[in-house]
Amino acid sequence: MTSVDSVPTPGAALVRRPGSVRFLWLLAVVAALGLLMAASVAIGSRGVGWSDILAALGGSSETIEEAAVTKRIPRTVLAVVVGGALGLAGAVMQGVTRNPLADPGVLGINMGASLAVVAGIAWFGLFSATSIIVTAIFGAALAAVFVYAVGSLGRGGPTPLKLALAGAATSAALTSFITAIVLPRGDIAANVQSFQVGGVGGATFATITPVLPFLAVGLVISLLSARSLNSLALGDELAAGLGERVALARGVAALGSVLLCGAATAVAGPIWFVGLVVPHLCRLLVGVDHRWLLPFSALTGACLLVASDVIGRIVARPGELDVGIVTALVGAPFFIAVVRRQKVREL
C-alpha cells in the first residue's frame, strides 16, 4: 500500500478530531488566567481601592496602598511563570514515566533542587542568581535520576507506586538534610527559608528575570516532546515500533521537565502538587493528546498557582499563607483520590 487513494474515504469526516471544543476550552483558560491575574493585583492582605491600583499600574508608588499594589505585580508574574512551569513539568513527567502520580514535588525533584541550593549557600557562599539557578537544576536532575533508579529496583520496573514511594522517601530525607544544614547556621536562616516552604511573596522583577532563559529552554524542549510522549504513552515496544528512539525521547523530555522545575524551585522554593493536579484536570478537558495537554497544563498551572496565592492572602489576613502551603492543602487530598480511583494503574 504505497499510496492511499487521494479521494477522501467516506469515513474521513468521522475521524476528524473535535478541535473546536478544545479551542473553546483554550479561550476559557486564557480568560480565567486574565481574571485571576487581575484579582491577584487587586486583592491582598491590605485592602486597596481601584484608584490605587490604576495609579500603581501607571508606575506610581507614593502611598502605602500604591506601594502594596506595585509589589503585587511582580508577585503575580512570578506565580504565573512558576505555576506554568510546574504544571507543564508535571504533565511531561507523567508522560515520561507513564505514572499518574508523577509530580515534581511527589518525586522529590523540587526538594533535590532546594537541598542543592541550601547546601550551596551554606557551604560555598552561593550568591548570584545564576549560580543558584544552575545549582537548583543540578540538584533537581540528581534527585530525578536517583528516584528513578531507586523506583526501578526490583520486579516490574518503575511502577507508579514504587516511584511515588521512592520520591516521598527521598523528599522526607532531603527535607531533614535541609533542616540539619540550616539549624546550626543562624546567619543564613533568613536566606534559605524560602527553600524550605515555597512561596512567591517578596518577588521583584530583578529576581524573576535571571530565571526566564532557563524556563524558556525548558518550555521549548518540553513542548517539542509532545509527539514523542504520545508514542511513549502506548508502551515502549509500540513506541519503538512507531520509530521512536525510546531512551533518547525519554531523556530529552525528562531534561525539559527537570529544567522547568529546577528553575522554578530556584525562584519560588519547593511547591508540591501543582504538577500533579493540573495534568489530570487538563486530561478531562482536552484528552490525552500531549500536543494539547502540554500547553494546557502550563496555562492551567499558572491559573492554579495565582489562585492559590490569592487564597493564601485572603484566608490568613492580616498575614498571609505561603502559596506552597496552600497547594499542599489542596493537593494532598487530590493525591489520595488519584491513588484510590486509579488503583494506581499505569497511564
Binding site: P8, L14, G241
Partner: protein, 275 residues
C-alpha cells in the same frame, strides 16, 4: 500493491544481561506471505519480534531488511516499512479510537509537521479495513476485547507498512474473534500483499492460516516450512514435550493436532508431559 521486502535474521543471538534467549538463529521470512511462529512459553518468540523491530539490539548477528541491518537504519524510515503490534500494548486511559489509530501515523510526522490529508485518509482507510469506523469516537477502554484488538490492528494499518509483525494477536479472544482477526490479516495479505509475521499459540489455527510455519525451541529454529512439513507428531513432542496425533483437517486440508494427555483418550500418554 506493496513492494516486496525481504526480512531475515542471520546468526542472531539475543540476550537480556547474562541470560541468552536466542542463540545463532537463522530465519528467512518469505516476502508477501503469512508466517506464523509457534513455540513453548518463554522460548523467546516475543524477544525475536522485539529484535526485528530493533527494540532489542542483537548480542551477535544481524536482522536484515532488504539486505540492510535494521539496527543501523534510521528509526522512522524502518517504521515506515516494518510495523510491530506488541503482545500487550497500552491504551492511554480515555483515548478515543480515532486518536489511537492516528498515532500509527507517528513515523510520517516530524517535530513541526502538521496532521495532513494523507494522515486523515490513512486513518480512515485503516478504520474501514478493520470495520471500526463506527467506533471512531468511542473510548478504547469501553470496547470489548475483540473490538479493541481490531482497533490495535487498525493502528498498525494506519502505519502503512509492507511488513507487519504481530505478537499473539489472538490471545485473550474467544474462538470466533480469533478467527475474525486471522481472516482480517489474511485479507490484508491477499489484497495488499502485506507480509505478515505473527506469533500464535493455537497450533491448529497457525497451521491453517500460515503459509510458512516456524517452530522455535531452545533459542533455535526447530523446524521451518509449510505447515504440513512442520506440524508433525515428532515436532510437537520436541517443541512442547507433548504427545499428540496429527491428522488432516477435513475442513482445510491443513494438519490438525490432537493433544494426548493422560486422561480421556484411548491411548493415553505414558509419561506426564515435560518430565
Amino acid at each position: 500493491m506493496t513492494a516486496t521486502h525481504s526480512l531475515a535474521a542471520e546468526e542472531l543471538t539475543l540476550a537480556y544481561g547474562e541470560r541468552l534467549v536466542i542463540e545463532g538463529l537463522d530465519l528467512v521470512v518469505p516476502a508477501g506471505s503469512i508466517t506464523a511462529i509457534v513455540g513453548a512459553n518463554a522460548c523467546g518468540k516475543s524477544t525475536l519480534l522485539r529484535s526485528m523491530s530493533r527494540l532489542l539490539s542483537p548480542r551477535a548477528g544481524r536482522v536484515l531488511l532488504d539486505g540492510k541491518a535494521v539496527h543501523r537504519m534510521p528509526a522512522k524510515e524502518l517504521a515506515r516499512t516494518l510495523g510491530l503490534l506488541p503482545q500487550s500494548p497500552i491504551a492511554p486511559e480515555g483515548i478515543t479510537v480515532a486518536d489511537l489509530v492516528g498515532r500509527g501515523r507517528h513515523p510520517y510526522q516530524g517535530v513541526f509537521s502538521r496532521w495532513s490529508r494523507e494522515d486523515d485518509a490513512a486513518v480512515a482507510a485503516a478504520l474501514e479495513a478493520t470495520q471500526t469506523t463506527t467506533l471512531a469516537d468511542r473510548a478504547v477502554d469501553e470496547l470489548s476485547g475483540g473490538q479493541r484488538q481490531r482497533v490495535w490492528i487498525a493502528m498498525a494499518l494506519a502505519q502503512q507498512t509492507d511488513l507487519l509483525l504481530l505478537d499473539e494477536p489472538t490471545t485473550f479472544l474467544d474462538v470466533a474473534h480469533q478467527v475474525e482477526v486471522l481472516d482480517l490479516l489474511t485479507d490484508l495479505n491477499r489484497t495488499r500483499g502485506t507480509t505478515i509475521v505473527m506469533v500464535l499459540h493455537d497450533l491448529n489455527l497457525a497451521a491453517r492460516y500460515a503459509d510458512h510455519l516456524v517452530a522455535l525451541a531452545a533459542g533455535q529454529i526447530h523446524a521451518a516450512g509449510t505447515p504440513a512439513q512442520v506440524l508433525t507428531e515428532d515436532c510437537v513432542r520436541a517443541v512442547f514435550g507433548l504427545d499428540s496425533r496429527v491428522i488432516e483437517d477435513p475442513t482445510s486440508g491443513a494438519p490438525l493436532m490432537l493433544p494426548l494427555g493422560r486422561h480421556h483418550v484411548d491411548t493415553p500418554a505414558e509419561v506426564s508431559p515435560r518430565g
